[in-house]
Amino acid sequence: MNAVLTWLTDGAHWQGYDGILQRTWEHVWYSAIALAIAAALAIPLGLWVGHTGRARFLAVNLTGALRAVPSLGLLFASIMVLGSRLDGELATLVPTELVLVVLAVPPILAGAYAGVEQVDAAARDAARGMGMRGSEVLFKVELPCALPLISSGLRSAALQVVATATLAAAVGLGGLGRFLLDGLAVRDYAQMAGGAILVAALALLIDLVASTLQRVVVSPGLTGKTDRRDNALRRLKTTAAS
């Protein structure tokens, strides 16, 4: 344990092209690309499925099937297929991102369509009955009401992607996975454990940021977290009055 601490706190390990900062940056970068692509695919698809009620069985089966894909197997298979057709770093980066995207799509897709589906039928009926058109119902009612589930889908995707992005190192790329593999190669267990701790810490940090963001974008009317604000308002009023 002491050895791990020593490894983590050694300033020299943080610097340079293979230092902790650089590796963390790479790790975040791989994860962010995958999440952005997955969200760009899965959120519109999920909203459409939830809004129209069409192709629901497809969405359900797709999420199930994608969840069953073994990441490592997909990684090697896609390197074999794609690797020879791409140049340089792309030959390994594209397959890695593919694996991460496949991992991230199911929770995001499920969050999006379930989020829209669970919107109160009466609210949706009222929205149409007051003269909202289809897209207005989607963007003014269904999407805002689906935000809690969409964002929890995104958060669980982010956790999985950050943990799995360590695979990048297995195909010669960077990221925090390097410390795990390089440590293993030279039997430097302190480095391996340190790497694992860094991945976990990064995942926690990202989740913390995400939960803060969630609190900002999700209406307090949906979370029921109106009390704190109400109390603050009441206090303000009483101080103003006195």
């Binding site: 109160d120 009466a122 609210a123 949706r124 009926d125 009222a126 929205a127 149409r128 009955g129 007051m130 003269g131 909202m132 058109r133 207005e136 009612v141 805002p144 009401c145 935000l147 209406s219 307090p220 009317g221 949906l222 029921g224 109106t226």
Partner: protein, 365 residues
Amino acid sequence: MIRFDSVTKEYPDGTVAVGGLDLTAPDGKITVLVGPSGCGKTTSLRMVNRMIEPTGGRILVDDKDTAKMDAAELRRGMGYVIQQAGLFPHRTVADNIATVPRLLGWDRRKSRSRSLELLERVGLPGEYADRYPHQLSGGQQQRVGVARALAADPPVMLMDEPFSAVDPVVREQLQDEFLRLQSDLGKTILFVTHDIDEAVKLGDQVAVLRVGGQIAQVADPATLLGDPHDDFVADFVGRDRGYRGLGFRTAPVLEPSPEPTVRLGAGVDEVRRSGDQWLLVADDDNRPLGWVEPSRITAPLVTEDLHRGGTVAVLGGSSRAVLDAALSAPSRRGVLVDDDGRLVGTVTLAEVAAAIEQAVGRGKR
């Protein structure tokens, strides 16, 4: 004016929910659709704003065929209130109310002040503007639902069992407020309920539907209660329709007898002077407070001595109220007051009965 012209709705599975409905909902009046569950009330209502498309016939609003209008625009011009209120949980009360004004492109400030105005109209305090729906009771949510439907001041309102999800006491309140609101606003309202009491209380015109969406009878409430068209309507209207029907007859010609009164604080001698078994107590403005039994009074009159059982009827009010006043008074003399609540006199049960009989008889012959 909303006009159904042989309107039919056959669902894809072959269910004929509405079979050839002809009905006119006149301007500025409340037309109630009432009938047993599954008789096609909701379907009829929702065909007006084209939430459901008819499979036959036409629906005209102000003589314009709704089928030829843009559905979203048609709906923006009609208030729509549903049973579960259907408020948007992510929006504050004020933003909920401002929905249609915002859709119509009003600016933020104008929409907001309209919301506050309506909040007051439906009897909710201004502080509620920035609350969220989950912070309101069912009755309050329903008020907001009504305010939201009124926001852009549509001439037509469609209401599907708006008060049936709340408890009876709140329902009564909401109905009374709704009638008050309507007497100010004079909207053309189509109102759906399965509750005949609500129908006769609210409706200027009541259409009783039977299963299959056919009209059994269209009439004003008094006629419906007094002269049901057939067994189905008579059954639906209920057993005590005779008594309830009195609620729609203005009181028969009555000649109230003067009633001696005493004030609170009157001494034992004064109270016992009349020798009657029951004595009416009134305040300084001659407003009746209650009856006392002089034989039981042993000290100057206090509030606790009052018998509160009797109801009070307004002279010129309904026969039902007068009859109830006579029935409920321990003295069997019904207390009548003027519009300001001041005592006019009393009538006996026999006098009320005779007068009602005369009035009913007059109506028949």
